[in-house]
């Protein structure tokens, strides 16, 4: 706080104010586009942790199965996909065991889509809190991304259990050194989900229509990622659609890392990283811009 105020005072000298150098806070109509106050986030780190705890622990309170739901959801989806797309529609899975193929895709995709959907509601859901107390608004979407990371971790364990089973049963799968990229992939998914989410969230304060778009838009988006069928099995003329989706290289790399088959390309991954950085940056800047006055529009 103190450093921030000093920076501000340099480009603003109030007329006639005595000992003006020790104002701790200056409230002004508009800050610059890049006046992001990211240091505030650090000061509020305890709040981030507490929001994570709240989101996480309140989720399955008063349910009978409790945290088991973390497993049931991906398991049932995998089962459905295996039966419908694998056994009935007989879609190819690059020769990988169907269960592993779908489960890996679903686990990774769920993390991204959960981040996107939850953060896209930031302003609307928290309007009542935001209307009363000030804290850096970015705390909320950040805590969403972190609590979803925990959920992802749990679901990854489920995947690893299946993975070990199939690995020991020798199904022609083998981990590759791309597994070292896992933290990078996670970071990219988080940044992409968060960036898109807060971008949408900032725009929904004005254009409510977007809220509905996000709902099924995320679902539609899934069909342009290789969750259900691998990129390699797509006809050439449609490949670019899927490749243009920044989530595609992430999921392909995720599979390649564990299963050893699939498309891995530094070029595609680099493209995905670039898109992620751009969306993330635009999202943060716009979010920061909107947070100052959104209370007047909701």
């Amino acid at each position: 706080m103190e450093e921030m105020a000093e920076i501000k005072m340099e480009n603003h000298q109030p007329k006639g104010a005595n000992n003006s150098e020790d104002w701790t806070l200056v409230i002004r109509p508009k800050s610059g586009w890049f006046d992001l106050h990211l240091s505030d986030l650090w000061r509020y780190r305890d709040l981030i942790i507490m929001f994570v705890r709240r989101d996480f622990f309140s989720l399955y309170k008063q349910t009978i199965l409790g945290p088991l739901w973390f497993f049931i959801q991906p398991l049932l989806t995998t089962l459905t996909f295996t039966v419908i797309f694998g056994n009935i529609a007989k879609l190819d899975t690059d020769g990988m065991p169907k269960v592993l193929f779908y489960l890996s895709g679903i686990t990774a995709w769920n993390y991204f889509s959960d981040c996107l959907m939850k953060t896209s509601e930031t302003f609307n859901v928290n309007a009542s809190i935001f209307g009363k107390v000030f804290f850096p608004r970015l705390v909320v979407p950040l805590s969403v991304v972190i609590s979803n990371l925990i959920k992802f971790g749990i679901q990854l364990l489920l995947f690893l259990a299946f993975y070990l089973y199939f690995l020991l049963g020798d199904n022609n799968i083998h981990p590759t050194s791309a597994i070292l990229l896992l933290p990078v992939l996670l970071l990219m998914m988080a940044a992409l989900g968060l960036g898109t989410g807060i971008l949408v969230s900032s725009l929904t304060t004005k254009y409510r229509d977007l809220r509905f778009l996000v709902q099924f838009g995320t679902q539609l988006l899934m069909y342009t990622t290789p969750v259900i069928f691998p990129l390699s099995k797509l006809p050439e003329q449609y490949k670019w659609i899927m490749a243009a989706n920044p989530m595609t290289p992430i999921i392909e790399t995720f599979r390649y890392a564990f299963l050893g088959t699939g498309t891995f390309s530094w070029g595609l991954l680099g493209y995905s990283a670039a898109v992620t950085v751009i969306i993330f940056a635009v999202g943060i800047v716009l979010f920061n811009r909107v947070q100052k006055t959104f209370m007047d529009t909701v």
């Binding site: 109030p14 104010a17 005595n18 000992n19 003006s20 020790d22 104002w23 701790t24 806070l25 200056v26 409230i27 002004r28 109509p29 508009k30 509020y44 305890d46 709040l47 942790i49 507490m50 929001f51 705890r53 709240r54 622990f57 309140s58 309170k61 008063q62 009542s128 809190i129 935001f130 209307g131 009363k132 107390v133 000030f134 804290f135 004005k206 254009y207 409510r208 229509d209 100052k292 006055t293 209370m295 007047d296 529009t297």
Partner: protein, 430 residues
Amino acid sequence: MSRTVIQVENLSKHYRLGVLGGKRLVDDFSRQWAKLTGKPDPLSKIGGNPRAKNNGKNGNSADELWALNDVSFDVKEGEVLGIIGRNGAGKSTLLKILSRVTAPTTGEVRVKGRIASLLEVGTGFHPELTGRENLFLNGAILGMTKTEIRAKFDEIVDFAEVEKFIDTPVKRYSSGMYVRLAFAVAAHLEPEILIVDEVLAVGDAEFQKKCLGKMGNVASQGRTVLFVSHNMVAVQTLCRRAIMLSDGQLTGQGEPADMITEYLQSFTVQEQVSKWDSPDAAPGNDVLKIKSIKIAPEGSQPDGIISMQAPINIETEFWSITPGRAVHISYHLLNEQGIVVLTTSSTSTQYDTGIYRSALQIPGGLLNSGLYHLKLIIVESGARATYTNNGIASFSVVDVSSRTIGYLGKEPGVVQPSLAWHTESIGNIK
């Protein structure tokens, strides 16, 4: 001279009503396009009436509102500043800007020290979480660190009186417990500047007393308090200085007592004078017609504020249109609950034709604060009520006394006479 901790300079806040910046994307594009090509905004309404009342900068058209208009004031360290004004005067907007919930349109606020606001207590409470979990969460939302909260934990729980239920989800709390816990967290923030908005409406008398004690402590420790309230007794008692807002503008600042008088006067007190122009339209029967009823505090004009201490003069003028019949006027004084507080009558008289005036006085230090109605009854021959009007006039009695810190709400009781207490020693124990 103590230093200035808050400096508000030319603060304004503008709202566009109804339009909300164009709900549809198309509107926004056409607006932006017009901006780029230098044409006027295609969506702005033509010929919006500038409101006469609030002719500040730009004027207020029908879909525009300056919730705050060029407000400037300073607050010194350790000062308890009362902010008063009617609903919609801009108090909440001012507090929202100060607590950074929304940004001003123009102007600037400079602050020294941490601000915490009790705009509404219990913000961010999650019903599924226990009292303990919520305490930490709420504290963090209000800007405390975990270590700070842990250090104060026992004190907060003690203050809120919820030790037994601290590990119960707050959805099982009674509303009283919920509010107490919420307020307790906020009260232990220890910021340099505390913004308090109408917390006195919260909890029972006992808890109110505790809260006000806490506020008094905060102030006596040299910290600054901004206090917004409609409770004039509280403002009078707690604040050393007050500012008044009306229609978004700062209309006065100074001694709380002066500001309160000004504030109360801003209410329309027209009902304290009821007048009729001719006997034909006036209330009454075929003997008497009421010409006017004026209600005023002793030694003041009819538009004066009637405080609890002031004697109240009620002056009735009437036309006597039929001579030779014995009549008298009877008044029943009813309070807000419809309870008859007192009745009073003139003596039964045969009036000649003409205009008469009769006056009576309700002694000061008798009525409780509140709204009163006068019921008029004209009685003939000392027994027969021939005309009744259930609410011919009304007036408010306000409590503007300053009390020692303690209970600041309205005391119960139909009447509130100032009674003298005399206590003396009558011996030792054993």
